[in-house]
Symmetry: C2
Subunit: 232 residues, 2 copies
DNA sequence: TCCTTAAATTGACTATAGTCAAACTGTAAT
DNA sequence: ATTACAGTTTGACTATAGTCAATTTAAGGA
């Protein structure tokens, strides 16, 4: 594995080969297996991560032991960049912790760690990189806005929205089904509900002839009605 | 009103006097009265706003007419910067709309509009400004994370958290009460509930001797118990 | 001050989704 | 094939918060 993998990361796509090599020489690459923790919200912040392969969930654990999933992150995206530019001094002094927990949810999840200090020196006089960074954060904000919006809806609406998003983001044309990229348990947590309620909602949709569930494959049999459910 | 007011805006605090004058000459300053709309989520995006005086709410309207408040914005902060660096081409062609609605919630709310093009040219070779921008977005992301986390809690927890945040952010020391900066109706919408439930929750806290409500003044009589309520 | 309107509160009821416990299914390992 | 286990589903019950309607309180204008 060499510095070329960094080219795939959106954030770094404008860097020169020299810069890429320089950055790469200071990065750590690590492979995680399914269920392995990447960081806890109790440990000191040292930098952000990029996903090369696999996927990752970012979550909080509530006092009753329940987890609440904030994001899923997929290849070529970054996570845990939020604290980077906050509390500059505190990060330097290792007084700052990660804002949430993070776990690999697939085997062979390959991550690259960019330490804060490396990124600081890189970004200092590179306004193109800055602007990439801004775009990335803006995109996250947009997603979170959507997430907040949908949380105030009822569970069927939330599920319908999620299914349609997956369906529409699937690039393959003509496909009549989606493959859930995450476990149903993680999906309930992401949708802000519990396994039982999610299960019942799937059943409800199935009974109404809108979808057909077969494991992680969800056949969309009546997109129109699903859209009607999802419409706020 | 001259270009010096821009100095108060966090984002611009590092600009030179010359730069400030240049920016200011291209800005529009407008005063809004309470309840006046600033933009709708249907109109083309032209730029972001800064608050000099007053305050603003950012919200979505659901199909049943209910509004869901995403943020409150207070003086010296910016809002609606999210689309700035997304869809660069689309913004130029005015194909992009504001992502939510925005309304002044106080009389004499003074706003400055920075058009996208002005900001593009300003940020191009100013990495200090870029970094400020990044910090601002990062801060918003952090707040939204908190917001998402709290929405999954029950209403008493959400209210307790909100009251404590207000209480702790109040700089005046020794103050035993907080003054709600927004209407109770807006508060319910922000907390993701409705007026009746908020009212009952205030009453519950009052009956338990934790707070004393008198209009917008909320006396915190038992901070410890309130904290216990808020603890996730 | 009264009058009008908006904001806030209360009660009775309903619906939605969470809890708990049990049963079932599918998959992977022996 | 058998076992073991995690993941999923189902049922009965409960709790939380939303709905609707009515009332009370507060606030702003004439």
């Amino acid at each position: 594995m060499d510095s070329n993998i960094l080219k795939n990361i959106n954030l770094f796509s404008d860097l020169s080969d020299d810069e890429l090599k320089k950055v790469f020489s200071k990065c750590s690459v690590r492979k995680f297996s399914k269920g392995e923790m990447i960081f806890f919200d109790t440990e000191p912040y040292i930098g952000f991560y990029m996903i090369v392969e696999g996927s990752v969930k970012i979550f909080k654990i509530l006092k009753d032991g329940k987890e609440h999933i904030l994001h899923f992150v997929t290849p070529f995206n970054t996570f845990a960049e939020v604290p980077l530019f906050e509390q500059y001094e505190k990060i330097k002094n290792e007084e700052f912790t990660y804002p949430a927990n993070s776990m690999a949810i697939e085997d062979d999840t390959v991550l690259i760690l960019i330490r804060s200090s490396v990124f600081y020196s890189l970004i200092e006089n590179n306004s193109k990189l800055c602007i990439k960074m801004i775009s990335g954060l803006a995109k996250k904000l947009r997603l979170m806005n959507k997430h907040i919006e949908s949380i105030s809806l009822d569970v069927p609406k939330r599920l319908a929205k999620y299914l349609l998003e997956q369906f529409n983001s699937d690039t393959e044309t003509g496909k009549k089904y989606i493959e859930l990229p995450i476990s149903k348990h993680d999906l309930s947590s992401y949708l802000g509900t519990i396994d039982e309620t999610l299960s019942r909602t799937f059943k409800k949709f199935q009974d109404e002839g809108i979808i057909k569930v077969s494991g992680k494959k969800i056949y969309i049999t009546d997109k129109k009605v699903l859209q009607k459910f999802a419409s706020v």
